[in-house]
Symmetry: C2
Subunit: 510 residues, 2 copies
């Protein structure tokens, strides 16, 4: 660490400078380096603190209060570099430490530092993924990384295709759009009025809402996205799917797309891919697997059987920013068949994708994308994957699955906890905590009370700042917690801590 | 800089470590810090070199060769941290320095170091923009930054709305989707079959291809996006627009959306917003302004008149990653009227957007987005904007406009150069270079030869690695250069250099 004298000098230097007095507008390298080094110091301290379990996850403030704690306004005159460094400190101090080992709130948790270093480099290289011309290494890297992903899915990399999209919802939209294009290429030019009334299928509640949303955006209509009932473990019931397909045809609709989910958002359920693939073959439907969350399981030879049949999919969404722990955003939409993405999205913008360039323009990816500018999401994944190797991921995922089993056992044996799904098959564990005060009430009364228990416990956690875990209701059930074990930093002690904290807050409720 | 002895020690330390032996999986802070500091050293050296005009912009290699220069494969076993640092060096060495002051190739050029520092922090904070719960400061920051943008457009911030989207193409898609929803809300549920056959309008060639692409994706059909002729400066001809609107109605179509471009991609033209706004009012059409590139001009009181009438738009796309110089991606889609974005995209995912949280959930933005996970694109913009203030942007944009005028003058007075548009009104300057050897040929012959001149000069630049500028043909014209002056680092000398380099390479062609 720097000595106090040096810090004072540094403060004085940065206080005397504004942005246009450092690179790239001025040649002042010393000031440039000092500014960036100071920001890095702030970031390193944040990382260190975040990994200290005695530090809080957040200081909770309501929006009104928050606005008094930090000046978010855009000033008339430039602020000096020291003030910017202080702003960085403030923003981090008032934020939520999503990489804290006891933050279990989202599917994307944790902070892999190699991936983070990769994102720092990505920012510094600041290029756009549309052509080999301006992103030669990153374009080739996408292909190399996707090759590993295609292999993991079980496809022939020579024939497969794919693109990194800004998040799983857009990836699913890419897939549905390509499916429509393959079946009805003229819709690209003439729109939906010119083709039959399409409909698609995904599991009830359990599937991600982005399938319905893609249906709405694409002009198919959210109501033409049918929800197929699920079994008690949250898995799509294939018989119900086939019945609905047949029924929709009778009603004059044209089924075209089935989405199975591999790792549902709430329950972590895996739909029965083989059986759905059979149905899709029988009815000649596009088979999409939304493995945004569960895709990482393909890297574990021990657990990948849960996705058996995924190789029969026409398209797969797989978000490395979820189970693989890459930084947000990192989401791939993969296609078994090459060429379609280009045909579907190609817009022939001469000013971008000239054919008379001094290299093989088949490497240019711009015309495959719905986006024009496309962020480089691959480098942070590539660097992280190199840092672990295939073997490292295998271990990491197996370890998380072991922790999930451990947590489930602990929930089962701890008084007051009740699992929603008796034997979770993934890293989502859904449960209620029933405080002792209400345990002896009538079941209907308990259910009514439970609706308010999880929100109150959650509010307590946020006030204490010690841990965070999400909750939600479903159609039949009052609010329950959804625990997610995806941060590689998690230990058994962290899980024990969460259980203790829930009991502690839950028992203290009025 | 570190001494050689220290470097050797550092190398040895990092060579002995793999990722799981540092944070967050292990408590080894010394190794963690050393790794991150070494990566930062690599990045700082890159930044310093990039700003040194004697350094090359790129080492050009064809894809086959490139693949031999760097090992892009994903290994079975983890690679040690030293190897990762070396990989970072390799990737940067083999890439294109898009922040080099003589890289004029794209609309997004340059590397603002405050914005970059902001992106480093964003990566470190690694959160998701869907709720106040997990991104409290950043959610409020979006509102604060958008308030400045709404004001710049000329809207009442109390009534306006908006969202940061992954790039301008998706922002335009947001706008068109919202426009459809406002006019035909039932299309969200029932799709396009249930409503009239829609059509939309944008300028011929000059407009961004994403409007046609959005039309295709939304199920309206690319052929129902009509291209309106432009004048010799690349501006949409309002009379032609109105004629086409009337014609399309006669043909049984339902016009609903007009996109004006403020700063076209190739010529930098500004469509006549006031006149188009009148037509939209008359015909009750949604008026969208794609100011992805030109939006930054709103920050210059001297130049904002080019967008006069923008305040009458229903929606505006404005990409701070273009003229404002924020890092990719940073793109906003702004709406004059609050509420619509939510109605249009809301999917009511209970597991994300619970209403019984311990704070005012109206701050949660998730249900306004088509995406689910949404990258934090605002912090890098906010920090950069603070570093310049309103006054700094005013100066920066005025300076770029002055440089554009200077470059235009120099092109006019230098033998062999011919402007495509005599008086460019923005930061795009389009021109041919006619080598002396062919200057005396017949006009038709010159035109035929010119098609190959720009690609050859460009190839020469890439081989030399000294500068880069884009080229393309248009319907009537053979390949011409499109110069972009958007990097704040550009000086007059850089522009003189480009002219000299083009002459030098152009004259040496066979």
């Amino acid at each position: 660490m720097s000595s106090p004298v040096k810090d004072e000098q540094s403060d004085a230097m940065l206080e005397a400078l504004i942005a246009k007095e450092i690179l790239p507008q001025s040649g002042n390298w010393e000031g440039t380096e000092e500014f960036l080094n100071r920001v890095v110091q702030v970031l390193l301290k944040y990382i260190k603190d975040q990994n200290d379990r005695d530090q809080k996850i957040l200081e909770f403030h309501h929006p009104d209060k928050m606005q008094m704690l930090i000046d978010l306004s855009i000033p008339e005159q430039p602020e000096n570099l020291l003030k910017l460094v202080k702003s960085c400190e403030d923003v981090l101090r008032l934020g939520v430490r999503t990489g804290h080992p006891r933050f279990f709130n989202q599917i994307s948790c944790g902070l892999d530092l190699v991936s983070m270093a990769g994102e720092w480099l990505t920012a510094t290289a600041n290029t756009n993924m549309f052509t080999y011309e301006i992103a030669p290494v990153f374009i080739l890297m996408e292909k190399s990384v996707m090759t590993r992903m295609w292999e993991a899915v079980g496809w022939d990399p020579e024939k497969a295709d794919g693109i990194f999209a800004p998040g799983g919802a857009i990836a699913n939209l890419y897939a549905m759009n390509a499916a429509r294009h393959q079946l009805w290429p003229r819709s690209k030019h003439l729109g939906m009025k010119d083709i039959p009334t399409l409909c698609c299928f995904t599991s009830e509640d359990e599937s991600h809402y982005s399938i319905k949303s893609a249906s709405a955006v694409l002009g198919i209509g959210a109501d033409h996205c049918f929800n197929i009932p699920t079994d008690k473990n949250g898995k799509m019931i294939p018989e119900a799917l086939e019945a609905k397909i047949i029924e929709s045809k009778k009603e004059g609709l044209t089924p075209f797309f089935v989405c199975c989910t591999a790792g549902t958002t709430v329950y972590g359920a895996f739909d029965p891919l083989e059986r759905v693939a059979n149905i899709c073959e029988r009815h000649k439907l596009w088979f999409h697997v939304d493995a945004a969350w569960g895709g990482g399981m393909l890297l574990s030879p021990e657990h990948r059987y849960k996705l058996a049949g995924v190789e029969r999919a026409n398209s797969v969404t797989w978000n490395p920013h979820k189970l693989m722990g890459a930084l947000l955003q990192c989401s791939a939409c993969l296609f078994r068949q090459d060429g379609l993405l280009f045909q579907c999205n190609q817009a022939s913008a001469d000013y971008l994708f000239q054919q008379d360039k001094p290299y093989d323009v088949s490497y240019d990816t711009g015309d495959k994308a719905i986006q024009c500018g496309r962020h480089n999401d691959v480098f942070k994944l590539w660097l992280m994957w190199k840092s672990k190797g295939m073997e490292g991921y295998r271990q990491q995922i197996n370890k998380l699955m072991d922790l999930s089993a451990y947590f489930t056992r602990r929930i089962k044996e701890t008084e007051g906890f009740e699992l929603i799904i008796e034997n979770p098959e993934f890293l989502n564990i859904c449960f209620w905590y029933v405080p002792s005060k209400i345990r002896n009430l009538e079941p209907a009364e308990i259910k009514a009370r439970l609706e308010k228990i999880a929100p109150k416990i959650k509010a307590g956690m946020m006030q204490r700042g010690t841990t965070m875990v999400g909750y939600q209701p479903d159609k039949q059930r009052p609010n329950f917690f959804r625990m997610i074990i995806s941060n590689q930093a998690i230990t058994r002690e962290d899980l024990d801590f969460l259980i203790k904290e829930i009991v502690d807050i839950g028992e203290s409720l009025e």
